[in-house]
């Protein structure tokens, strides 16, 4: 469907129209986990963007070399390689951020967004388009994480990038930086996005970007395992 898109279209679609978090509902784990501070959100977003661009480029270059039957493991290994790289870079240059992102830095490997873009886009398109697609999706993800992080940091700890905000910092609503607050904030933000976009809210989490979608479809005949299947088709 994106065959005839302009290059700038490839870049911008990920930021708003196909925002990975708010629209296609991918990569929820880091979105909820690391966004207790706006700074962490941006750090995580940029790290993911880096991995996304690099893996999209490499996978796009290798798309003719990788046999179809082993493509998913191959993609995962390529992605894991770049994740290891960014782990090293971050530990060396930003040790503080490295400590606060913790295990979720390693878990970028299994972030559905990256594998999803590899499967859906990079393995079918040219290098430049794949790089732009990765950059756009990454920036959209960063934007979403920044938004989540800002809301949770301002309400939950009364600060913004570590700066105290008047009366809020005296009695912050701690619940917002706790796990429950993460679910709540994301739910409300998605509702607001739905309201602004005036679109019909998705009935369920969609499958189209899910890396396992092809397996799902195969299995769907046996059993409806992927609940978003019908929603994705409709």
């Amino acid at each position: 469907m994106s065959q005839k898109k302009t290059l700038s279209g490839e870049l911008t679609k990920g930021i708003i129209k196909e925002n990975p978090v708010f629209v296609t509902m991918l990569g929820m784990c880091p979105t909820l986990a690391v966004t207790t501070l706006a700074k962490n959100g941006i750090g995580m977003g940029l790290a993911t963007t880096f991995v996304l661009v690099c893996s999209n480029v490499v996978i796009s270059l290798l798309k003719r070399v990788i046999p179809d039957s082993v493509r998913l493991p191959s993609f995962i290994v390529i992605i894991a390689g770049f994740v290891t790289l960014i782990e090293f870079l971050m530990r060396g240059y930003l040790p503080e951020l490295y400590a606060s992102l913790g295990i979720f830095l390693s878990l970028i490997t299994v972030n559905c967004i990256i594998l999803g873009r590899a499967e859906v886009f990079a393995s079918k398109n040219g290098v430049l388009r794949s790089a732009l697609d990765g950059l756009g999706m990454g920036l959209g993800f960063t934007l979403a994480l920044f938004l989540m992080g800002s809301v949770r940091e301002i309400i939950g700890s009364g600060c913004f990038f570590g700066m105290k905000i008047g009366d809020l910092s005296a009695k912050p609503m701690l619940i917002f930086i706790m796990p429950a607050g993460g679910f709540f904030t994301l739910g409300v933000i998605i509702a607001v996005v739905n309201k602004i976009a005036k679109r019909k809210p998705p009935a369920e989490i969609g499958c189209e970007g899910c890396p396992s979608a092809s397996l799902c479809k195969k299995n769907a005949a046996e059993k409806a395992s992927c609940t978003g299947e019908e929603a994705a088709k409709a």
């Binding site: 894991a80 390693s106 993460g182």
Partner: protein, 190 residues
């Protein structure tokens, strides 16, 4: 022994993998719509997590021998992908009834970050083999518990009157927040 029990309770209830660690959210939201699929997914995760930690433990020791622990992410994800593939084939061949109930969920588990997360947690906390196994078992059981409980909540959610903009995913997430809130009550047990 006491320590193992504490790890089990900690991993399954206090630091519940879904509701306080935020791992495996995609699977959590995707398969908790029906009680049946949530039980199937949960048990498949318990199975894979347990055996994956059994396999990743010697792999990490091997990596240590050649001084390459930094390759753990790459090595673990490969081992997990391989294990899932093998397990799927083996179950299909030898235990067809089990394949019928768990099989469809197995391929989805490779990208479930809870499995890789548990394997990395085992290594980061320097657990022994027994502790790793108990931790993985607890994490998997916690995942199943969260899934089954939440499936019950979502059945009620379907029949309730929700504002138009909150229908679907937003309402599900807000409900998850409340379930997560209840799990905060476990804090401080151990």
């Amino acid at each position: 022994m006491k320590e193992l029990v504490m790890i089990l309770i900690g991993a399954s209830l206090i630091n519940n993998v879904v509701l306080s660690q935020f791992m495996g959210i995609c699977a959590f939201l995707g398969t908790s719509k029906q009680l049946k699929s949530s039980v199937g997914m949960g048990l498949a995760v318990v199975f894979v997590m347990f055996f994956a930690s059994l396999v990743t433990y010697p792999v990490y020791i091997l990596l240590g021998r050649i001084d390459a622990q930094y390759l753990k992410t790459v090595a673990f994800i490969l081992v997990i992908a391989l294990f899932v593939q093998l397990a799927e084939m083996a179950i299909k061949r030898f235990i067809p009834p089990l394949y019928k109930s768990l099989g469809v969920y197995l391929p989805l588990i490779t990208t479930n970050c809870a499995v890789l997360g548990a394997a990395i947690t085992n290594v980061d906390k320097k657990y022994t083999l027994a502790q790793s196994l108990v931790n993985s078992l607890g994490t998997g059981l916690g995942f199943t518990l969260a899934l089954v409980l939440f499936a019950g909540v979502r059945i009620r959610l379907e029949t309730s009157d929700i504002p138009e903009t909150f229908k679907g995913v937003p309402a599900t997430l807000v409900a998850a927040a409340i379930v997560s809130l209840s799990f905060m009550g476990f804090a401080g047990i151990v």
